[in-house]
Subunit: 239 residues, 2 copies
DNA sequence: TAATATGATTAGGCTATACTAATCAGATTA
DNA sequence: TAATCTGATTAGTATAGCCTAATCATATTA
């Protein structure tokens, strides 16, 4: 097979796609992703990252400042968001149509996202009614590569008395996810912070509208990302 | 990562799985699969096959007789049938639940079969009601690795007057599959051969029970594998 | 400012998969 | 039987990942 006859813009490999995704997550607020953090997230040795970083910057997917870290280029960001879209649509499809649960779906989607075609992703999206959020409440990027940038606070930092909507759960850990689901703490739930203990102590919340109480330790409270809900909206009577 | 801590029975790579599948298909009747045929099916150069053959026989998945060809061992056959099961369940799921058509589904399944977990395959199988045949009429191996060995004849060789059920269509070519679907020639259809021209000429068939005629050229007639249907069964009145 | 600690990179290898060019074995034909 | 043809194998390379050990750059601390 003549190299000149092959695709001029070859598909990214599995591994490249994984690197781009973690760089996206690590450099989210316009910062740099550090080599060692990338290595830790992917569970590879730091020199493997240096090697891949060289390849990725040669192909224009990332910008590398030695000893500083890396950032995605526009092209790299597009590729990363494409994978994130695939991942989140897969998670939702598997939970809604194939009986997967909240906790178990991540690993399966992680494998599949590298194998599904664009056509299949869009068929799943349309079967799902073009959803905006995945089962963890994370926003699903559009096919064009846009993503909702929500203003969220961790429950651990939210002011007492505010009406909040739980929007995202910042972990893929199956045990934590199961526990949260048992407690009724899933994306979409409305709540208020009724009390917080000092010295990084637990947060006590009241679910809305039921008024049920939950006490959430510091660690979990930092994983629960919430959006402030305007008070004159729904549910004001229930307080 | 210490090599001793890794999985003692690592998953087969994509490529190994593909080799096993084509060896299965090429050596179907207990024969040997030739190096050059494997190379042609996988679109790789013959030396690549020689190299892979060495690795596969070292790991006990195939038996190699130099300058003769290769055969699967029991272990290799199990691995091949596992991939075939995945492929066929995927094809059926994609056609029945995601709107894929007969012709377009093969390539997608080919990619996915390497990424899906056993759990996902079994969830799809159970959503489908544990089907026995894929959309082309090919039998789906069981999870335990058994496969129906049907006694089929190509339409091109079937005797005139016999009542037949079209069971399998021996191609993945999208144009041919679409044409056959238009002609109503899909697995499950009942028919009889009403006439055959000599010198490798076309076969004329009558569909049962409608009686509609179709004229099928030699090439297609060799792809249409049929099962003889006992005459005193269903549909006898319709003749 | 000098010494040290931390984190990043280079050097040098390993494996799986592919390739081309060269050689070898077996089958066919003269 | 000898010559030839076909198809299979070996030899030698390439690439994309990964690794460990050694070195280098930056930041921190004395």
């Amino acid at each position: 097979m003549n190299a000149l006859l092959r695709d001029a813009n070859p598909p990214l490999t599995r591994s490249v796609e994984d690197y781009l995704k973690v760089i996206y997550h690590l450099s989210n607020q316009g910062g740099f992703a550090a080599t060692s953090d990338i290595a830790a997230m992917l569970e590879v040795a730091p020199p493997s990252v240096s090697g891949m970083v060289k390849r990725l910057s040669e192909t224009g997917l990332i910008e590398h400042v030695p000893y500083r870290g890396v950032q995605l280029t526009a092209q790299g960001r597009r590729a990363a968001l494409k994978m994130i879209r695939r991942h989140r649509i897969l998670e939702l499809y598997l939970t809604q149509h194939l009986g997967y649960d909240w906790g178990g779906v991540h690993a399966e989607a992680e494998q599949l996202e590298h194998a599904v075609s664009d056509e299949l992703v869009e068929r799943m999206a349309s079967t799902l009614g073009h959803p905006l959020y995945d089962p963890h409440g994370d926003p699903i990027p559009t096919a064009a590569g846009e993503i909702e940038e929500a203003e969220l606070v961790p429950l651990a930092d939210a002011a007492v008395g505010l009406k909040l909507e739980l929007r995202q759960v910042g972990t893929q850990d199956s045990a934590r996810l199961h526990y949260l689901a048992e407690q009724g703490l899933t994306p979409g739930v409305l709540l208020t912070v009724s009390e917080r203990q000092p010295f990084n102590g637990p947060t006590t919340i009241a679910l809305v509208p039921s008024g049920d109480r939950r006490v959430v330790g510091r660690e979990l409270a930092q994983l629960l990302w919430c959006r402030e809900v305007p008070v004159d909206g729904y549910g004001a009577a229930a307080r």
